[in-house]
């Protein structure tokens, strides 16, 4: 292809790859059943390289897929339309930790955990902690607006992005925001780029907000004989004006699967499990943990355990940390969704998910972030079984519909990508989609930025329960 030769001449062979092995290795992300070969892979070394690449791709109308570590679960970095995958292996530096303004400036390929470690070494804290943080890049986190376990208390990636440098499809550099707590100069383009899933521009540098590192942390676990006890506990904790750092939930099915896999002595007659953590000054942490302990017992917890030390805390966290591993071993294909509801609706949502599982005769285990209503209904299935996959898809459509009915959303933290594009209109309505398409056109008039993502060719028909369209 002419454009590949052109790219090689302009940037050098050492960062442009078009051999089959490389193309195959960049043909997927962590989304089951999505794979497509790109035509080439490029690994820019600088913003200037990215500019040159974008100009060329705009000229040749080549799709560009910016890719971090491809851990996303919605097909967001699968090159469905072929084209050029942009890989940030050479742009992963931490450029500056500014202790006066409490900011950190990084290149997009920086691994999230590496950033967290570097700032924590200076007594600072970058709270967003997606489960993939040891693998994921900051560029990917920003593009997907990743959440994590600490979302309830500390918010998500968007709450920490202060300034961005991005390259537009034209090759021009866009600079947004600054090391500022207040900035109302024009539309909030920073916030617009966060979560835009690579459909608008390529992020080449980010300045992120830091906060002081909490002094201490305390961990506890509570078992409940039924789902409602756990749900009431979550509501009562928040009502009592306590915002825990972590408030994680596992349903009966997840507990059974974890116990079968890990043999750690979890009682399998339990209906739900909560993992609670608080951080901050030690007297506040102690007070909150005591209060949460009391609430758990009042709401009918059958067992409550507070960690004596960090080693003990790690054993308490183990069940929750092992949930994905345990579920992933059940069947060849594991589909992890992230329907999200207002936290007051968690019990109702879990019940609806259970009913949907029964209707379609599929195994669904649910765990997730109870504090912020972000659930992970997880299906163990086999992608080769087409009949079952159809039932799985129908079940997920019902789950999305149920979440919306309860005032929730189709995706809390995984993003729309290709997988949820057909459902986006359910959430935004036709007007919402039109506004978004207008924004897309303003940034990317030729549609080269991550095509076939976010916007579906046709929206999925939404079935109202009971049958009619």
């Amino acid at each position: 292809m002419e454009w590949i030769n052109h790219l090689q001449t302009e940037l050098g062979d050492e960062i442009v790859f078009s051999d089959a092995t490389t193309r195959l290795a960049y043909s997927f992300d962590a989304t089951p059943n999505y794979q497509a070969m790109p035509d080439a892979v490029v690994a820019p070394r600088s913003t200037e390289d990215v500019q040159a690449i974008m100009r060329l791709c705009q000229t040749y109308r080549v799709p560009v897929i910016a890719r971090g570590s491809a851990t996303n679960l919605a097909g967001g970095t699968t090159p469905l339309a072929g084209g050029l995958v942009m890989d940030f292996r050479h742009m992963g530096k931490i450029l500056e930790i500014d202790e006066k303004n409490l900011t950190v400036t990084v290149e997009p390929g920086c691994i999230t955990a590496r950033l967290a470690e570097a700032v924590e070494a200076r007594g600072l804290f970058y709270p967003p902690d997606p489960s993939s943080m040891k693998i994921s890049t900051i560029g990917g986190n920003i593009s997907e607006n990743s959440g994590g376990l600490r979302g309830l208390k500390y918010g998500v990636t968007a709450d920490y992005v202060l300034a961005l440098e991005a390259v537009l499809p034209s090759g021009d550099v866009l600079k947004t925001g600054g090391k500022l707590a207040k900035d109302v100069a024009g539309y909030d383009l920073t916030r617009l780029l966060v979560g835009s899933e690579g459909t608008l521009a390529v992020i080449t540098e980010a300045t992120l907000k830091l906060i002081p590192l909490p002094e201490t942390k305390q961990t506890m676990i509570a078992h409940f004989s039924d789902l409602d006890g756990a749900a009431r506990t979550v509501s009562r904790i928040i009502e009592s004006r306590i915002i825990p750092a972590t408030l994680e939930f596992m349903d009966k099915k997840t507990i059974e699967v974890v116990e079968a896999y890990a043999n750690i002595g979890l009682p399998t007659d339990v209906g739900a499990l909560l993992l609670l953590e608080q951080d901050g000054p030690s007297e506040v942490v102690r007070r909150d943990i005591e209060a949460m302990h009391a609430i758990c017992l009042t709401e009918g917890a059958t067992h409550v355990e507070v960690a004596r030390d960090e080693v003990h805390a790690e054993t308490l966290r183990y069940a929750r940390r092992t949930a994905l591993s345990a579920l992933a071993r059940l069947r060849p294909t594991t589909i992890l969704e992230d329907a999200t509801v207002p936290r007051s609706e968690i019990a109702e949502m879990v019940r609806r998910i259970e009913a949907i599982g029964r209707t379609y005769d599929i195994e669904i285990a649910t765990f997730g972030h109870a504090g912020d209503g972000n659930l992970h209904p997880t299906v163990a299935t086999d992608a080769r079984d087409h009949e079952e996959m159809e039932r799985v898809e129908a079940a997920f459509a019902d789950i999305f519909a149920a979440a919306l009915e309860l005032g929730g959303t189709i995706t809390g933290e995984h993003g729309v990508g290709a997988m949820k594009a057909p459902y986006l209109e359910w959430k935004l309505g036709a007007a919402g989609i039109d506004v978004m398409k207008g924004i897309k056109l303003a940034f990317d008039p030729h549609g080269i930025m991550n095509p076939q993502k976010m916007f579906a060719k046709a929206a999925k028909k939404r079935l109202v329960q009971g049958g009619g369209v």
């Binding site: 051999d19 089959a20 092995t21 490389t22 193309r23 195959l24 290795a25 960049y26 043909s27 997927f28 992300d29 962590a30 089951p32 794979q35 070969m37 570590s69 491809a70 851990t71 890989d87 292996r89 050479h90 992963g92 390929g109 691994i111 955990a113 993939s132 040891k134 693998i135 994905l324 591993s325 992933a328 071993r329 060849p332 294909t333 594991t334 992608a383 080769r384």
Partner: protein, 440 residues
């Protein structure tokens, strides 16, 4: 049929599709993979390599030189396996893919004369027969003792050999005389009350080039109260064959080892080389085509355990005081001892128990040192980069003593000291340092 089509069908036959399908592509393996950390290139990650193997089987790509290169560049350290949420057995896929490629290259005459010759000498000769290994190490001893080594070095004969081989030559241990090695009895009684009955898997390299380490391991087991039997019919474990795609040779060795050990009335089969131990644990998969042998392999592998874990289990530390002069000690994990034999804890417990010394954990002790069998000879560039990074972490600890638990790692750390270390540093096998501490 075109050659690539032939190889595709060989790989399709050989590779377990369920296992490949088990990979969710979540990427949890990426931060554990030394070649990915080194290159940040997805073709050099476990997830990437599985996708590439599956891509061949699915007909998305042809098994060209690029595919072979990425499989060859894998160290086989298996740090990816404990990190995998879905429990994918990457080792099985890697060895089966390499076996398919080796069989194909040999059958279609694609293997050049040099590679055929090396494989013939190493796999059909040296490692398939203990007596040939004895002879070869005998030559090495002659080379070292007769003045030939000095002469060779003076005459710069080694300049004719590849750079990496020259460097390795300099760090080979001094081989003890054969007469010393044949005196060992087949059965050795425990010192004091018996705590366990064990059969010692002596290994080929360990029992020749590293004979001293084997002698020390036996001494430690004896002091720990183990009755020891060392069956004379045992062979090389077959790991080098297996990792290089020579499965026929590996299967032959596996069967002979199972035969040598299965009739013994023992609690454990003891290993002191992580690489061998891990390969013994894979015998059931290696022999899976033959249900009867596979069952015998299951029974065999249930007894396999590393000597450090056994020492801890039988209460060695309560029986034997350990002391050494003041020094900082750090430990370099053997990948296969850690990731396959799950033996990361015992060596550390033993080292921490040596009075007078301080144990310092090095950063990324669990990352491969780049030795990986013969990898450092075949992929010197990547291996040397990995070693340089490793030695940086070692220097940060200020430790003078670097403890290892596998012969390959041991030589590689020697090489690391020679290239990037300080004059006071030494690399020493766990058994040797413990024996030293016992006698002190």
């Amino acid at each position: 049929m075109k050659q690539t089509e032939q190889l595709t069908s060989r790989m399709t036959d050989k590779l377990d599709y369920e296992e490949m399908l088990g990979c969710m592509r979540c990427g949890f393996c990426l931060p554990t993979c030394p070649t990915y950390i080194h290159s940040k290139d997805e073709t050099a990650s476990p997830r990437g390599r599985i996708a590439i193997m599956k891509g061949v089987v699915d007909g998305l790509i042809e098994p060209d030189a690029g595919v072979e290169k990425t499989l060859n560049e894998c160290l086989g350290c298996l740090a990816c396996e404990p990190a995998c949420p879905a429990g994918v057995r990457y080792s099985v896929l890697l060895e089966d893919a390499r076996a398919a490629i080796t069989v194909h290259k040999r059958a279609t005459g694609q293997m050049d004369v040099r590679e055929r010759l090396i494989r013939k000498v190493v796999f059909d000769g040296l490692f398939l027969s203990k007596s040939k290994m004895e002879t070869a190490t005998g030559f090495l001893r002659f080379y070292q003792q007769s003045g030939a080594q000095t002469l060779t070095r003076k005459l710069r004969i080694l300049d004719w050999f590849p750079d990496q081989l020259q460097k390795m030559e300099a760090v080979l241990p001094v081989v003890p005389a054969r007469s010393e090695r044949v005196l060992r009895p087949e059965r050795i009684r425990a010192a004091g009350a018996t705590t366990a009955r064990v059969a010692f898997f002596s290994g080929c390299l360990m029992d020749t080039m590293f004979y001293e380490t084997n002698a020390n391991t036996i001494k430690l087991l004896q002091a720990a109260g183990c009755d020891i039997v060392i069956p004379e019919t045992q062979q090389c474990c077959g790991a080098l064959h297996g990792h290089a795609g020579e499965q026929t040779g590996a299967i032959a060795l596996a069967k002979r080892n199972i035969e040598s050990f299965e009739s013994l009335d023992v609690d454990y089969i003891v290993t002191n080389a992580g690489g061998c131990g891990a390969f013994l644990l894979g015998y059931d998969h290696l022999l899976k085509q033959d249900p009867e042998w596979s069952e015998r392999a299951e029974r065999f592998k249930a007894k396999v355990k590393d000597f450090a874990s056994i020492l801890i289990e039988v209460g060695f530390l309560d029986r034997v005081p350990l002391t050494l002069p003041e020094q900082l000690i750090t430990y370099q994990d053997s990948c296969h001892l850690r990731n396959v034999q799950k033996g990361a804890l015992a060596p550390r417990m033993l080292l921490q128990a040596i009075q007078g010394t301080t144990f310092v954990e090095q950063r990324n002790a669990d990352h491969c040192c780049g030795s990986a069998g013969v990898y450092n000879l075949l992929q010197p560039h990547i291996a040397n980069d990995i070693l340089e990074m490793k030695m940086g972490h070692v220097r940060d600890t200020s430790a003078q003593t670097i403890v290892t638990s596998n012969p390959g790692c041991h030589l590689q750390m020697q090489l690391g000291i020679q290239e990037h270390g300080t004059p006071t540093m030494r690399a020493v096998h766990l058994a040797d340092v413990l024996a030293e501490a016992m006698d002190h």
